[in-house]
């Protein structure tokens, strides 16, 4: 381990300890039930965390499930919406990236659709498909579509002419051209888009689940707030953060595998 690295870790730890100490000082002592009137401190949250991690998959009916089940429900929705959105975005992005005219014709609409909060679509989805679970998946779809689409189109449009010339000389079929030249050449840009997308999907799912209720980490946060179980709320917030980091790290590894230098 280098000296710099050791210092980085030392400072990180110091910041964490300082933060927890200040938090403990301003927090009110928790009652025996764990339901404090003020903000619960880190020790109270820690006790709750230990309880929740010890038994993450219990199921005592609709309003009382373990945090593991809630996270799995959210990740399941995320997977469905995200995979569908990514496939659609890559397909459309490659099409746009290969055709400058189509790209310019469609781009204004993408620019208008991109800044819309995915949650704004929720009423429309609820009204049209009348299923809150599917509506939530569609919200995830909308939240993870645009970054991948924009990055794929840009990545494909900026593939070096030389590579396409080689593909043309070799008379590769469109499928081989796609798989052996276009996708690998644009892969770094595409994965960068996928990485942004999974972040915004994970952000959107908490809010979507607060709205639809039922299961999921977002609903869990809202439900515990209604129970005034703030230690659970805080622990869930931390869990959301950790899952987000793991999702990003997974795509980070993929991005390193697909990177190339010229």
């Amino acid at each position: 381990m280098s000296r710099d690295r050791r210092r980085v870790i030392l400072y990180s730890m110091l910041f964490l300890v300082a933060f927890l100490a200040v938090w403990q000082l301003v927090a009110e002592p928790a009652g025996a039930s764990g339901k404090a009137r003020g903000l619960p401190g880190p020790l109270a949250v820690g006790r709750t965390a230990v309880e929740m991690i010890a038994n993450p998959f219990y199921d005592n009916g609709p309003n009382d499930k373990g945090i593991g089940l809630q996270l799995l429900a959210s990740l399941g929705r995320l997977a469905m919406g995200y995979v569908a959105a990514s496939l659609a975005a890559i397909l459309l992005g490659v099409t746009l990236g290969l055709s400058p005219i189509l790209y310019r014709a469609v781009n204004p609409y993408i620019q208008i659709l991109k800044p819309i909060s995915p949650l704004a679509w929720m009423p429309l989805f609820l009204y049209t498909i009348k299923d809150s679970g599917q509506a939530a998946v569609l919200v995830i779809f909308m939240s993870s579509l645009w970054p991948t689409l924009a990055n794929t189109a840009f990545g494909v449009a900026s593939i070096k002419r030389d590579y396409l010339n080689v593909a043309a000389i070799l008379q590769l079929s469109w499928w081989r051209r796609l798989v052996t030249v276009i996708l690998p050449a644009a892969a770094p840009a595409i994965v960068a888009g996928l990485r942004i997308s999974i972040g915004s999907a994970w952000v959107a799912i908490v809010a979507a689940e607060m709205l639809i209720g039922g299961t999921g980490i977002g609903y869990f946060v809202w439900n515990e707030w209604n129970n005034l179980a703030l230690t659970s709320v805080i622990f869930a917030i931390v869990a959301i953060g950790f899952i987000g980091v793991l999702l990003d790290a997974g795509l980070g590894r993929l991005s390193r595998r697909l990177a190339y230098s010229e």
Binding site: D162, N165, V166, A168, I169, L170, S261
Partner: protein, 261 residues
């Protein structure tokens, strides 16, 4: 009969200021026989690389046309492989994969094993054994162009198009790879059209050398026949009176005559 015919090809581009056209070269006409090595020499901007791209089918002529084996060239094809100045290897593929991409395209009916064996043969031929699994970024310019040559030769095209293939390679390595090209060409006797501004390279390799005047509106001034017996050895050529005569002739053309039209 000529295998490749450049039939009065003219190329112009839209002028940079948006008004009218700039003519790069006008009415270039010559033919290349099967098995012949023809090189085009001219200053930068005479459009020689553009002409090579037109033969490759990557660009369209403004007027005139290119006929290969009795058929007009309209688009790129496997019968005309290009060796690019900047190598144009796929950077995300290994050496082996780069050549395999071409072999698979040329021999769609071959099984996996046959393809792999054939690819390996060409890797060995250009002295890259051991570097099969390296990516281009890990190779020197000279090694990258060896891959480019192996890729081009491995498809057994009717015509090889070499676009200043050694321009980006350091001088010491260049002569080694030129010798390698001579060896490969001697074995295969491919028809080759090469573009270069290196006069010694042109004389060493070519049967005939086409001299272009300077652009814009470049023309094909003359075609010189190289009457030097093969195999040509670099060290012996230097003292050969015919070599010296040719070299002086071409150099004088490039310095003095390429400007007047």
């Amino acid at each position: 009969m000529a295998l490749l015919e450049i039939d009065h090809v003219t190329k112009h581009f839209p002028a940079p200021d948006g008004r009218g056209h700039v003519c790069v070269f006008r009415e270039v006409a010559f033919a290349i026989a099967e098995g012949e090595f023809v090189t085009m020499v001219g200053h930068s901007g005479c459009g020689k690389s553009t002409l090579l791209n037109i033969i490759a089918g990557l660009e369209a002529p403004s007027t005139g046309g290119v006929v290969l084996d009795g058929r007009e060239v309209t688009r790129p094809g496997m019968d005309r492989m290009v060796v690019f100045q900047n190598f144009s290897l796929m950077p995300w593929m290994t050496v082996f994969e780069n050549i395999r991409l071409a072999v698979r395209a040329a021999q769609p009916d071959w099984g996996r094993k046959d393809v792999a064996q054939y690819v390996q043969r060409y890797i060995d031929m250009v002295g890259l054994s051991g570097a099969e699994r390296k990516r281009p970024a890990a190779l020197s310019g000279g090694m990258r162009q060896r891959v480019g040559l192996a890729r081009a030769f491995s498809t057994q095209p009717k015509v090889l198009l070499l676009d200043e293939p050694f321009a980006q390679i350091d001088a010491l390595t260049r002569s080694v790879i030129q010798d390698e090209l001579v060896r490969m060409w001697t074995a295969s006797r491919n028809t080759v059209f090469m573009v270069t501004h290196d006069v010694d390279e042109a004389i060493l390799l070519s049967d005939r050398i086409a001299l272009m005047t300077s652009g814009p509106e470049a023309r094909l001034a003359e075609i010189v026949t190289v009457k030097l017996a093969r195999p040509r050895v670099r060290a012996e050529l230097i003292d050969d009176p015919e070599y010296l005569r040719l070299r002086t002739h071409i150099m004088r053309f490039l310095v003095e005559r390429s400007r007047d039209s």
